[in-house]
């Protein structure tokens, strides 16, 4: 007992006056905060982990956004490195030169890049990613195409070459790119007028035309996608760092009692937020690198990317690493602004004061105001998207949903009365604490709103791709073009197409041209008449003009109906295309070369009116049956076969493409059908649903933690309620109502905000307003499911809390 006096002489620290907090004080308080975030048992950890996951997702998305420029750049560099489109004409073969013919094709809506190559010298140039040119009949392929060929005999038939090697990373824009280079000995070089051969002579790769990597609409999609994914995460982070806020406030109050001043408590709170966000940075880096590997398996609009190409910009990365923790701290400090943590507890300012509406409505209105000037501006391929204005507008509009929400919750909940016990308990609780109720669901709200808007934009953009051709898909579904095939070959081509499986009907004709008979005598620079010449059988000609009676040997003059072409086409027709008159079939580049090949229009030539052909085009000129003209004398003929496919035959268009490929590198098959884009849209939609569902699951998790925290805080009250006979089901219902009411309000707002933003985006791309209510319903359904799940998950702990031993004081 005598030893006690030693304590009495414990040195009393001198009362420390208010002094500017030094680095050590900061370090101490931040560490203390981190200690609180990490300590505090399972609950504390759950909170910290949730914060870290939320911040991590945000960071991962930010890193992704930071990687987009680099990714696009690297794709563009690779594209340019193998491009030959701008290569100048090379007249003579050399040691380095080679012939190349583009044989790109489409397989089930996916682009398959392909080129036939033929070396002309000993040391020919090679495309990037290829070590050695494949010999005739051999090919090098991308891994994705090799994989595809293995499982698709039909495509293998089209690309029948022997697989002798792989195209390396350098030659591919993404891991999923379908691409091959095949050797061929059937290539001949075209002449200077781009005629008579089937291949181009080049001396190297990388002669490119610079182009924008993204069309304006895709650009817009990308921006909105990032906004829509980032914003809920941002809102979630905002909620996450406030998780356990009440408990934290009480803890800080206890510290205030033993002499912590207000600034110290702020620093400690900052420390708590800091730990979560720093862990979040780590998690974010992890998510990003993991997600980047996944990205290799994802293809959007034929675009895939190598993980190694998705490197975040260094400066942006550093910025993210600095800004994210600071933002978390800022959110915490801002959330503390409204509360005064006093030694005896927490005083919330403005309690009982009604929320004002005007500035809350101002936020979404400001967003709208930013978007309105952009209406109609994102149309066509060379429009410029103002990224900042668009993103800011979209963010404000979506964020506006969360600013309006607390007001709506307060206004609605304040008017609710009566009802059964469960309802009454829930409503009273909400009335007392509508701020946190609104905060709890704001993440779900923003996620739903964003998803709805994005879906609307996607749907319409996809619609654009589908309907842009204007083709009449009910008359034909594909065309086959074979340049440099004269009219004798035309019959053979048409026959080959006609006998292809799945082809119901085929209309083949030959496109050529004629000019005035004295063209050879004109001086260079003088205008020469241009008269299209279409050679096809009666059936085919009927598809292109109202010709009436027709028999072999018939000929027609069809005036142009194009109002914008001016008078000259029809004037030329009227002057030269008359029955019995002669036309010169030798039409080539100026100056005139060779000798005139004169042909006389049959005397029975009649006039006919043009009609829209199955391709969606209106043709004019001189239409003749093959019997009326000597096919071998036509200049630069192109055979065109318009194909009507049998809808009952699967893969009909793929068989047709095989036929086209067999016709040679110059033959082109283009599909008028639209089913391919639809599959892509479905893929995107699925991806978006998965993303939205994941975001909402995360938000649900934070909802659950908040809910459990609230329940635990009211443990004693619950036990008392049970003790005097409140039925447990009533309490369970009250928990459900407590979340369901704000969620329902949030979803209503989300639909309004989402449709609003969607409408604005549609207006920007110049599309008509259209809402897919199925999407709205499904998104709202996911939101509602989250609430239900949260309630169900919180029931077991609720049951446990309601045991009578809850009456014990802690």
């Amino acid at each position: 007992m005598s030893g006690r006096l030693a304590y009495g002489s414990a040195p009393a620290p001198a009362p420390a006056p208010e002094r500017p907090a030094g680095v050590r004080v900061w370090a101490r308080d931040l560490a203390l905060g981190a200690r609180f975030a990490a300590g505090g048992g399972r609950e504390g950890w759950t909170r910290t982990v949730l914060t870290a996951v939320g911040v991590g997702l945000g960071v991962a998305l930010l890193l992704l956004a930071a990687a987009v420029p680099a990714t696009l750049n690297s794709r563009e560099h690779k594209r340019q490195a193998r491009d030959t489109s701008a290569a100048a004409y090379v007249a003579k073969p050399s040691g380095k030169s080679l012939l190349i013919a583009d044989v790109g094709t489409v397989w089930h809506g996916q682009q398959v890049g392909g080129a036939l190559l033929k070396a002309e010298g000993a040391k020919p140039a090679v495309p990037p990613g290829v070590a050695e040119l494949p010999g005739a009949g051999d090919m090098v392929v991308s891994p994705a195409l090799r994989e595809l060929l293995r499982s698709t005999p039909l495509l293998r038939e089209r690309i029948p070459y022997r697989d002798t090697g792989t195209i390396g990373h350098a030659g591919l824009m993404g891991p999923n790119e379908l691409m091959y280079y095949a050797g061929s000995d059937r290539l001949t070089a075209r002449d200077a007028d781009y005629q008579h051969g089937n291949a181009k002579r080049i001396t190297g790769f990388g002669e490119h035309i610079t182009s924008d990597a993204l069309t304006p609409v895709l650009d817009l999609l990308l921006i909105i996608m990032l906004v829509v994914l980032l914003l809920p995460v941002a809102v979630f982070v905002g909620t996450a760092v406030r998780l356990g806020g009440e408990r934290r406030d009480r803890r800080l109050a206890a510290l205030r009692l033993v002499g912590a001043d207000i600034r110290t408590t702020r620093r400690i709170a900052a420390g708590e937020a800091l730990l979560g966000s720093v862990l979040g940075l780590g998690a974010g880096a992890g998510f990003f690198f993991a997600g980047r590997q996944l990205a290799a398996h994802v293809t959007i609009h034929d675009i895939s990317a190598y993980p190694s190409d998705m490197t975040p910009n260094t400066a942006l990365t550093v910025l993210i690493a600095l800004v994210v923790p600071l933002a978390a701290v800022a959110v915490t400090l801002i959330s503390l602004r409204g509360t005064a943590i006093e030694p005896l507890g927490v005083v919330r300012h403005g309690l009982g004061r009604r929320r004002t509406l005007w500035w809350r409505v101002l936020v979404p209105l400001a967003g709208l105001a930013l978007l309105v000037p952009l209406f109609g501006s994102v149309t066509g391929n060379d429009a410029h998207v103002n990224e900042y204005q668009t993103a800011t507008g979209a963010v404000l509009l979506l964020f506006g949903v969360t600013t309006v929400l607390p007001w709506v919750v307060e206004a609605v909940v304040g008017r609710l009365r009566g009802g059964p016990v469960a309802w009454q308990l829930a409503i009273r609780r909400l009335q007392l604490n509508h701020g946190s109720a609104a905060r709890m669901v704001s993440g779900v709200t923003v996620a739903v709103a964003g998803a709805i808007a994005l879906q609307m934009l996607f749907a319409s953009v996809d619609g654009q791709f589908v309907h842009a051709t204007g083709a009449d898909a009910s008359r034909i579904q594909a065309t086959v073009n074979v340049p440099a095939a004269d009219a004798r070959q035309a019959a053979a081509v048409t026959e080959k197409v006609r006998t292809t499986p799945g082809v119901a009907r085929a209309y083949g004709f030959t496109d050529s041209r004629a000019t005035q008979p004295d063209a050879a005598t004109l001086r260079d620079g003088q205008d020469v008449a241009y008269i299209p010449l279409v050679v096809g059988d009666c059936d085919t000609l009927r598809q292109m003009a109202e010709i009436g009676s027709c028999k072999p040997g018939s000929a027609y003059v069809v005036p142009s109906t194009d109002r914008f072409a001016g008078p000259s086409p029809n004037a030329d027709l009227a002057k030269y295309a008359r029955p019995g008159k002669r036309l010169d079939l030798n039409v080539g580049p100026t100056p005139y070369r060779g000798t005139p090949r004169l042909w006389t229009l049959p005397s029975g030539t009649r006039a006919a009116v043009s009609r829209t052909d199955p391709r969606g085009q209106r043709n004019w000129g001189v239409f003749v049956t093959p019997e009326a003209v000597d096919a071998s004398r036509l200049a630069d003929p192109t055979t065109v076969v318009m194909v009507n496919l049998d809808p009952g035959t699967q893969d009909a268009v793929e068989y047709l493409r095989n036929t086209g490929a067999a016709l040679g590198p110059e033959a082109q098959v283009s599909s008028v059908s639209n089913f391919t884009t639809q599959t892509q849209y479905a893929q995107l939609r699925r991806g978006l649903f998965v993303g939205a569902a994941l975001t909402m699951a995360l938000i649900g998790a934070s909802l659950l933690v908040t809910m459990l925290e609230q329940l635990r805080d009211r443990k004693k009250l619950l036990a008392v309620l049970v003790a005097f006979g409140t039925r447990r089901t009533a309490l369970a219902w009250s928990v459900l109502w407590q979340t369901a009411v704000p969620i329902a309000l949030g979803l209503v707002l989300a639909c309004a905000g989402g449709i609003g933003l969607g409408a604005a985006l549609l207006a920007m791309v110049g599309e008509a307003f259209h809402v897919d209510w199925g999407i709205v319903a499904r998104m709202s359904g996911i939101g509602a499911a989250v609430v239900l799940a949260v309630t169900l998950l919180s029931l077991p702990p609720l049951w446990r809390l309601m045991r009578p031993d809850g009456l014990r004081t802690e």
Binding site: Y7, P15, V25, R251, R256, V258, D261, T264
Partner: protein
Amino acid sequence: MTAPAEPLLTATGLRKSYGPTPALDGADFSIRPGEVVAVMGPSGSGKSTLLHCLAGIVRADAGDVRYDGRSMAGMSDGERSALRRADFGFVFQFGQLVPELTCLENVAMPMRLSGTKRRAAEKQAALWLDRLEVADVAGKRPGEVSGGQGQRVAVARALVSGPRVVFADEPTGALDSLNGERVMRLLTEAAHDTRAAVVLVTHEARVAAYSDREIVVRDGKSRDMERAA
């Protein structure tokens, strides 16, 4: 009894209202160094409010509190926080310990807030836990110890920084007789040894019997029983 000395903490004419009803209606108070003064009175009479005003936790609407010759009315939050840190200690009925920290860390907290290094603060805290006969709970969290142990930890925390005034508001309110006695004995002995004054709010006479002097508060008015007798 203490030798007559200058009062350490005095209050005159304190008024404080929460809404229309006054909690304090002209209360006076004074305490000398090392003195233990019991504040008694029916519940709701304003005892806790008086204590909060004295400790500078709550600002009175009218009247003045002087500590060590300085008026607390004019002090900033920072200055009052500093006072709480260095010159005052607190023991409440319950719930004043930080649940996330161990008992030892809780006791060390006031010293650490005053800038003492962790090691040194915790060493001192361990001594105090030992002295209050709760050395064995040092590593436990407040949720894991009994009410009596928790209160003794709270007393240790109140005394660790060598305060000149300890404010105790119903320190035994949640304890049984035996534990209550124990806490009171340890609190008053330790306060006596460190010459700390104790403002002891209680409604229990047996607890008040540990005091040197008694003040009764009724309807917000204080009554010095020494003068009445």
